[in-house]
């Protein structure tokens, strides 16, 4: 690509896809892998329908992670260096549930994110914002017996990318999740309520259903906020693909 397209051109594409989705009337709950406004997806999505498979053998099980794998301190992204990181300290917590609403217990949750200035500790991040010597932006934890994960971190900033001219990602935290079986493995991103960049962002908008998109947005929770210390956000995650017979209704 020689010249980057404008935000207006990308926004028009996003709007056209949304309009066609509304007209079609079928409900989608996952992102489209074929979503041209996200230019990096153009050559990286299957063109054939996914092939139906009944899970068998190892697919009915998930890898087992535990106390041997993770230090409890890895859940606090603000204490990994000599000093306090710059930015809004916050707690992010929620439950990991399976497709039937049951807690996913003692399972691995991994997160990574940009710092408060929107800069990743990654050699390929060219954003000319300051690195924070006190913030790496990587955390891990195990869910507890109620399926609850909890991280202490700082609020990431939005950052520019080169999908199109003046493209900015809404602030987000990457989440990597395992369920009780292999088929539930997923990676996603958590966003913050009311972000003005939502409408402009082709990755967020690749989930074409507005109700489904909302499932990626955390809720500010004042009861989680701690006086003179940190803000609090709550975000529950429901995994796909439980092999168990789905409940009729709930």
């Amino acid at each position: 690509m020689t010249e980057l397209e404008t935000q207006a051109a990308i926004s028009d594409e996003i709007a056209a896809i949304g309009k066609a989705y509304d007209a079609a009337g079928a409900v989608e709950t996952q992102p489209r892998t074929d979503y041209p406004p996200y230019r990096s997806s153009l050559l990286r999505h299957p063109t054939k329908d996914l092939h139906h498979a009944d899970p068998e053998g190892v697919e009915l099980w998930a890898p087992c992670f535990g106390e041997r794998d993770i230090d409890p301190l890895e859940a606090d992204l603000t204490i990994q260096h000599g000093g306090d990181p710059v930015g809004e300290r916050m707690v992010v917590t929620g439950r990991v549930l399976d497709g039937d609403g049951r807690p996913v217990r003692r399972q691995l949750v991994e997160v990574w994110q940009a710092n408060a200035g929107g800069r990743y500790v990654h050699k390929r991040d060219q954003h000319p914002a300051a690195l924070d010597p006190n913030f790496t932006g990587v955390g891990r934890c195990l869910t507890d017996d109620q399926g609850v994960y909890r991280f202490t971190t700082i609020r990431p900033g939005p950052y520019p990318w080169r999908n199109h001219r003046n493209a900015w990602r809404p602030a987000h935290i990457h989440f990597s999740l395992f369920g009780t079986e292999f088929t539930q493995r997923m990676v996603t991103q958590m966003y913050f309520p009311g972000d003005p960049l939502f409408a402009l962002d082709p990755i967020y908008q690749s989930v074409v259903d507005p109700v489904a998109r909302e499932r990626l947005v955390a809720t500010y929770d004042h009861d989680l906020t701690q006086p003179e210390w940190s803000t609090g956000y709550r975000w529950d995650i429901v995994l796909t693909g439980s092999h168990r017979t789905p409940l009729e209704d709930a």
């Binding site: 054939k48 992670f65 693909g241």
Partner: protein, 180 residues
């Protein structure tokens, strides 16, 4: 029934977060019986994908599903059945592992998950060990014959090759499990 949270791309910046020391070595290289499972991840133009991540989950050689901790901090002795390998500049991923046995009489396969920048949701597939005359199982039998080879490992000098084609000519058969 609760509706699943949408997936999103792993993005370009996972390398400082998801890879870890020993991630691709389910057993130490040189372990008796160890094999290499490797391959190249390619895009719709046939170009190597240098920013993909492949995860492996498998039974042990006796066909047992392992439920042992220690995948993230390997002790050098416990086989956990899980591994993770980011692709290099040439799009190649590599695992050092043991060949899986068939579980409950099924054909032996490696279960794989593929993530990449540009890929908006993870993809699942199976890398079956070479059939060596065995009859296709239900899944292989349900795949058109011309696409079946995309699910089969090819034997090579050190173990197996399994290339992943995200799109286009020779596109890998990716799986949708019930509930997806």
């Amino acid at each position: 029934m609760t509706t699943a949270t949408p997936g999103q791309t792993v993005g370009p910046f996972f390398h400082y977060a998801l890879p870890y020391a020993g991630d691709r070595d389910l057993v130490a290289p040189g372990t008796p019986g160890a094999v290499r499972l490797h391959g190249t991840v390619r895009d719709g133009a046939g170009a190597a994908v240098p920013d993909a991540l492949v995860e492996l989950w498998q039974a042990d050689p006796q066909g047992r599903v392992v439920q042992q901790q220690g995948s993230l901090r390997r002790d050098g002795h416990t086989f956990t059945g899980f591994g993770r390998a980011s692709t290099d500049r040439t799009g190649e991923y590599t695992f050092t592992t043991l060949p899986p046995g068939g579980v409950d009489g099924g054909l032996p396969f490696f279960a794989l998950t593929v993530f990449a920048r540009g890929l908006l949701n993870r993809l699942f597939t199976r890398a079956y060990l070479p059939l060596s005359g065995a009859a296709p199982d239900a899944l292989l039998g349900s795949v058109a014959e011309d696409r079946r080879p995309t699910l089969l490992c090819e034997p090579d000098e050190h173990g197996y090759r399994f290339d992943v084609r995200l799109m286009g000519e020779g596109e890998t058969v990716f799986l949708r499990y019930p509930g997806h």
